[in-house]
Assembly symmetry: C2
Amino acid sequence: MGRRRQSVTIKHVAADAGVSLQTVSRVINKEPNVRPAMKERVQASIDKLGYVPSIAAQRMSGSRSYLILAINDRDLTIADWRAREGRDWVDQMLLGGMLTCAKHGYRMLIELVDTHNDHVERELGAAIAALQPDGVILTPPHSENPLITGLLADRGIPFARIGSTHSGPGIAMTMGDTYNSRIATEHLLDLGHCRIGFIAGPKEFSLSDWRIAGWKEAMFAAKLDTDGLCERGDFGFDSGLVAARKLLDQPSPPTAIIASSDQMTFAVLQVARERGLKVPEDLSVISFDNSPIVRFTEPPLTAVDQPIAATASRAVELLIAARDEGIPDEPVRVRGELVVRGSTGPVPVRDGD
Amino acid sequence: MGRRRQSVTIKHVAADAGVSLQTVSRVINKEPNVRPAMKERVQASIDKLGYVPSIAAQRMSGSRSYLILAINDRDLTIADWRAREGRDWVDQMLLGGMLTCAKHGYRMLIELVDTHNDHVERELGAAIAALQPDGVILTPPHSENPLITGLLADRGIPFARIGSTHSGPGIAMTMGDTYNSRIATEHLLDLGHCRIGFIAGPKEFSLSDWRIAGWKEAMFAAKLDTDGLCERGDFGFDSGLVAARKLLDQPSPPTAIIASSDQMTFAVLQVARERGLKVPEDLSVISFDNSPIVRFTEPPLTAVDQPIAATASRAVELLIAARDEGIPDEPVRVRGELVVRGSTGPVPVRDGD
DNA sequence: TTGAAAGCGCTAACAC
DNA sequence: GTGTTAGCGCTTTCAA
């Protein structure tokens, strides 16, 4: 195989343009203090020779690595991939992240890290040491893992915490969970629903409670009661079954249910089917996530779309800008939207009312 | 921000262990000619200090970059991501590729390249120059683009051509299209079907014809006629409609149809619905791809599963091994399998027969 | 505004 | 078996 060397290096360009390496470097990095004529001459050589700087060399000499690391939970991600149930969280991150990276000459690299592991630090530390990324994007549940945020802060690497509003190091970002939950609730209120149940996610995720807050906000604004209308699940199907049954077993059951994940919403659908409740005639249902499959259920689900791509894109921009401009000290909010499909309808008229 | 330096370098380890840099390097790279006791001492220092080599530095010194580049078609990939229709081609590549990379201390990086572009070479050349990957995975339609394969061959970078059996540079790999198509056909033959239609992909993809070949093999083996039973589409829904109508408009229409993509299969389903044909009672249908959504149609589709993860994983292994062992000169086949669901059934008994 | 020198962290080549 | 030297391609000093 033989050792591979860069075919065109900064030296070739310098020789071709008849200038020093330094001048070429200045042109590459768009530094000031280069006479336009000089700049043009160097650029011409660059184009002629098809020169592209080696990021390894750039990184070596203490400059940027042009790498952004997107950290995802290993087990969750692999489980999703293997399940092949159409969840496209990773794809949406790539869509938003990669394209924005490309715009700035950066690359995005996905790294799977096991949160529930004693060696989180070792794992992440190794990735950092090996890759020397210029920025890191953390997704839940990593975003609020102090071992991880601490490590990154120590190393002085800019990072974004998606799904976290804590103050502290890094860029706090949310996908507008409170807002999203509120507009979902308002959609149901507009349809005349008064008893709106909510199936929340687990406490470990901050966003679980933000979503509850959005729902309560809307309910309180409409002067409606929320007692007994909130159950918790773990985002999974089975937990959704339990929660849905609890909600619908009440003497005065909800006429609409918002569930904090697609899987839990599927569970609501199943429980409704078991009890002969038609969706949306007897029960309206709204899902969170809006992953591809929600269009293939019967009926297709009205769902809160998580703006994953937009958030990843914004994160990349902020991370790249962090070098020169620092990071915002307020949480950055990227709002989602409600996609109305067939699972929500007017409140049913109750027999005997 | 200040320039970030590696916190623990090979020097620290060398100093801690009281040996030369070279010895540490030898231990890292598992080279022979290091006395076990020495090796142990060095390893102890590595562990103690939590040392991880910088891949930038490794790459700089003419060694490996520990990077594998997976090239995908830009437009197709972005369109899939935006459409959010659950196609998980990229995820499956990551699943197979990333995990196998990780096993060997490599990383996989996705790069989007526009095939139908004059600057393919410039685009890919830039990625190569910037990243200096140790290997490249090409997917259709890049796999058979001579501009791309030529460039890679020139640069001496090992690469895998998925979906290509051409001889020539690089590792030719297939996902067993002929075989897959044959077993799909045989499944239908076992169910008693004799008139089995086939909707192929476009000529630009070699695999289109391999699939036709597999279907014909099975049909010929069963001494059945294939005349007028093969139409071509472009993998898209609309082309599937046209093809399905042509097939079903015949005086003696097929009782089963195999379509070369999920979208074209959906089209078959729709045409069947239009004509009041029940699936699978009146018409059996088999899809290629087995992307997540095929489980959500009515009925769920019997489908040929493309072993994307397994192929990516194998590609990574071969690419990493290429450095020391060279590449296989025969095409590497990774076989898919037929996933039987609800869209295939016994041949219908025709009225009046 | 430009250039020269030093060094980033590591490995290949060679010496011992 | 182990150490020494030189150099990868680039950017950061600093000098002119």
